[in-house]
């Protein structure tokens, strides 16, 4: 127990005060649902990469992996290597499309491909199960660390961490969570570098001497230099490998972090930064893990009478910090381990909240459920005006045009569909230049949007849409339509603004009817 050490108490209180301070500061800039669940998309790629690293490098990575290396040698690295190999996969296959298709949760993106009424509850349940399982692991770490620091009971430690995190997330939302995770990531990286450096220094800056010593004290001898516990059965091996490499791509608290940046490109850059930070930290586990074997495996000061490690197997890093840096470093590492836990718990709590609010209760987007009275009125009014023209592009019947135009303008007027997106959608079936003036007169677009040459803010997208509308091949082959619409971004908008989904359906039916 370290409670007699004033440094421990001071650093612990500093971490708690820091988390509360960040929360209070963040609460001032949390004004909307988007701020609360996705930080308003205002996080930069570097900040998000740091926060992703902070979210990912949990107590399991810091305390658990070093403990696994301590007991089994290289087997711990198999997991570390699998985790880091999963980040390029996240970047290649998930980050970019997820940011473009979703708003707050993974279910947003998946309901683009599947029936929303079925996929949302399913994903919500899966996300909540994952969050709860992950939370249990973090709470076990919290219990052990606080027990070691203050001698508090396990239950009291869990209640304390839980109450602090509920306060942080409830008041500060995603902005507070992001900053807590960033601070924690910096602290953890600094701690890792410090412990690795001091361990390296203890062996005269000779990594070979460190490894030789580890081999000489570990009962498995040189077997700790390679994996001994991997399954020999090919199917089990493939199963474990796939879980390690693709597992990260299914962690809901990691995936929601991609919604906090501006666009898909920033989401990719976030993943690059995150991979760099996490990879660097995992490389530090080589000297930390083998250093722990070399320095504390046979040291009775860190073991109980029965030979078990003091405080449990997961406290290897903490004992190593004491061996190389004394009481103060141990107190600092305990405080960082605690910060690690509260940051990850904050991310998980927010993920659970967004899943319940956005996917299960659907409280964040009432318009998507259909505001029938206002929507019907607006749609009819707009249809009356727009319906008497026969625009170039695909020839539409009156009912087809009502279906396709009405919801766009309706959502545009409610402020749910950005003007550029609305015009892109309209441009897929109509001459956007002709309709721009009408939309302006209706108040659906602003003056500067109308005046801007080349289209509504996102001219390139509009031009692509027009090219598509005028493309003979596309008009003659309805089978290619979903892919083409996806390329021009129209289907992305349809997903992002569920009311506009009818437009895609209408466009498809138009092409089927008028090849």
């Amino acid at each position: 127990m370290l409670s007699s050490n004033p440094a421990t108490t001071g650093l612990f209180l500093l971490i708690v005060a820091g988390a509360i301070g960040i929360t209070v500061a963040a609460a001032r800039s949390t004004k909307s649902t988007s701020d609360f669940l996705a930080a308003g998309g205002r996080i930069t790629p570097f900040q998000n990469g740091l926060a992703l690293a902070g979210d990912f490098m949990s107590a399991g990575a810091f305390l658990g992996l070093s403990a696994l290396i301590f007991s089994s040698g290289f087997d711990g690295f198999i997991y570390a290597i699998g985790y880091i190999a999963s980040w390029p996969i996240v970047m290649f296959l998930v980050a970019d499309p997820l940011r473009n298709l979703g708003r707050y949760t993974m279910a947003d993106a998946l309901s683009y491909r599947f029936d929303e009424r079925k996929i949302r509850p399913l994903i919500a349940v899966i996300s909540l199960v994952l969050v709860v399982c992950y939370l249990i692991a973090q709470m076990v770490g919290a219990g052990q660390v606080i027990q070691l620091m203050f001698g508090l009971s396990y239950a009291a430690a869990v209640v304390l961490v839980g109450a602090l995190m509920i306060f942080c997330v409830m008041i500060g939302g995603m902005i507070a969570t992001t900053w807590v995770q960033m601070v924690k990531a910096v602290l953890l990286l600094f701690t890792g570098v410090l412990i690795a450096f001091l361990t390296w220094r203890a062996f005269g800056y000779d990594f070979s001497a460190l490894v030789e010593k580890a081999i000489s004290v570990h009962p498995k001898r040189s077997a700790i230099l390679a994996s001994q516990m991997l399954p020999k059965d090919p199917l089990s091996g493939i199963s474990l490998g796939l879980a390690l490499v693709f597992g990260t791509a299914g962690l809901p608290h990691i995936l929601i972090r991609f919604f906090t940046v501006k666009d898909g490109k920033d989401a990719r850059l976030s993943a690059v930064w995150a991979t760099g930070f996490i990879g660097f930290f995992f490389l530090l586990l080589f000297p930390i893990g083998y250093g722990a074997i070399a320095l504390i495996f046979n040291d009775p000061a860190y073991h109980q009478a029965n030979g078990a490690l003091l405080g449990g197997a997961n406290t290897v890093s903490i004992h190593l910090s004491h061996a190389v840096g004394g009481d103060f470093l141990m107190a600092f590492v305990c405080a960082v381990a605690f910060a690690t836990i509260i940051a990850v718990v904050a991310g998980l709590t927010l993920t659970g909240a967004s899943t319940i609010a956005h996917d299960l209760l659907r409280t964040t987007d009432p318009v998507s459920e259909g505001n029938s009275t206002r929507g019907l009125f607006t749609t009819r009014a707009v249809t009356l005006i727009l319906d008497n023209r026969n625009p170039p592009g695909p020839r539409l019947s009156g009912s087809e045009r009502r279906i396709s135009i009405g919801p766009v303008v309706f959502h545009c007027r409610l402020g749910k569909l950005p003007n550029s997106d609305a015009c892109s959608l309209l441009a897929a079936t109509h001459d956007h230049r002709r309709y721009r003036g009408r939309l302006y007169r209706l108040g659906a677009i602003r003056d500067h949007d109308r005046a801007r040459p080349g289209g509504m803010g996102q001219g390139l997208r509009v031009r692509r849409a027009c090219c598509f509308a005028g493309s003979t091949d596309a008009r003659h082959d309805a089978r290619h339509l979903p892919g083409l619409l996806f390329r021009i971004g129209a289907r992305q908008f349809a997903q992002r603004y569920p009311g506009a989904r009818q437009i895609c359906g209408a466009i498809q039916s138009i092409y089927r009817l008028n090849p």
Binding site: A85, M91, S222, A223, P234, G237, I238, L269
Partner: protein
């Protein structure tokens, strides 16, 4: 543009998965070879260096992909 990006995604993912699973199964089936020292002067093993190379390669691959994707 998207076709090229998807091609990049498939190629990069394929390379990464091939290298990772090759390493994984070498560790599973050839533990003695992987535990062998890389040289007579160093106690570090082949597995340690390959593992470090995969970590460094993963970082490099993300940077390379984002440059390629931005150009496409």
């Amino acid at each position: 543009m998207d076709d090229r990006r998807w091609r990049l995604r498939v190629i990069y993912s394929g390379i990464l998965l091939a290298v990772y699973f090759a390493f994984f199964f070498m560790c599973a089936y050839l533990p003695e070879r992987m535990a062998a020292h890389v040289s007579s002067n160093s106690p570090t093993s082949v597995a340690m260096w390959l593992g470090a190379a995969i970590i460094a390669g993963s970082i490099a691959m993300t940077g390379l992909y984002t440059v390629s994707a931005d150009r496409s």
